[in-house]
Amino acid sequence: MITPTLLTQEQLSRLSDLLEARCGLRIGDASHPAVLEGLTRLMAHTGTTTFDAFYARATELGSALRDQLANAMISRETAWFRDPEGLAAIAASVVPALEERLACGSSDRIRIWSAGCSTGQEPYSLVMALLSQLTGQGLGERLPGHYEIIATDISPSAIFLAVAGRYDARTLHTDGLPADYVQRFFQECGRVACIRDAIRRSVRFRQHDLLDPADRLAGGPFDIVLLRHVLEYYTQEHQQQILARISGAVTADGVLFLGTGETLPACDLFQEVPLEGCVCFRRR
């Protein structure tokens, strides 16, 4: 029997190349615990006991490979208010300009897309940030009617959990969620904290593969797209495809947010715009 941690760097490198070539998935640091966890599960699934046997099996899986590998290798790591400076910038800088547009009647709603939303923490955090900002301006009641927030993920299980909006109460308190937000936006029931209906109904969740055309997310172009800590799982070629699809899915002055520390892959579709505490990328 072998364990992933006993794989040589050369073997991990061969596997990484295979994933990139066949699936468009980039596993990055092959010694990362999440990658090793996925690899362990895959090896166990295939029942192979040597690297060569596993590698041969992986090359034979054909079209089923992508889904299987994607499901096994992609970690659903997420958190409440992850990269809070981005959410704060949306609420404090981007949305006020969009609100002005609404006020002068040049548009009737603000559309936001949380792409790669995992189990819902990102879009729900965004709703909380927006509600706090809008309520502070006496505009809290505007969110249901004037904001359309679409959240997508490739995993149907992640979407199911996001729609349910049920989380374990203990992690809410340890995951960086402000204490008053827990009281305000959740209903705690024993070990489970349910996101309040008003928040849950503010987000529409869909299963969506970022490599598929974004026009399947019907309803018009988006003003804001959050694509945070997602591109890192894809090869350069697929990153370009995803960015092209997003560029085609945003309004003329739509903006894209990446995760803190992420850089936009070289492309001429977006230009960097500095905001307070972070940057976003505006469509050229």
């Binding site: 364990t3 941690t5 966890e37 362990t40 599960r41 166990a44 790591e77 997420t78 992640a158 489970v192």
Partner: protein, 124 residues
């Protein structure tokens, strides 16, 4: 429906309790093979999924999986096995014995929940 959490340590049982309730199911707990069998028998047919922490030095192991899988009433209940880091051999052994899915004890909560959900879907 109920989900049976078979795990020797209280800490991980607590984590499983939370996960099961987040999924909207009722947890049933066991600390060894004897309790697993008692729970399956007394709660039949309400246990929709079994999550077990692999314990090769105890009784939550491949023999228990084979016994469940081979049983005429419990045999179709999906089984998720939690294994430790560097325990690929145990995960392979669990799959060979009939486990439906294996998840690392170091996996994120989201990963554990989605794997359990996928297994519940397979049982539906």
């Amino acid at each position: 429906m109920q989900i049976l959490a078979a795990e020797r340590t209280e800490t991980l049982r607590e984590t499983l309790r939370e996960a099961i309730e987040v999924l909207g199911h009722q947890p049933v707990e066991a600390v060894d093979a004897t309790e697993v069998w008692d729970a399956l028998t007394s709660h039949y047919p309400d246990v929709a999924l079994i999550v077990m922490g692999w314990d090769p030095s105890g009784s939550i192991n491949a023999d228990l999986i084979r016994r469940i899988v081979g049983h005429e009433r419990f045999g179709k209940t999906p089984i998720v096995v939690l294994f430790g880091e560097n325990e690929t051999a145990h995960a392979i052994e669990a799959f060979q014995a009939g486990a439906t899915e294996c998840v690392s004890r170091a996996a994120t909560r989201q990963d554990l929940l989605t794997r359990m959900l996928e297994c519940l879907g397979r049982a539906a």
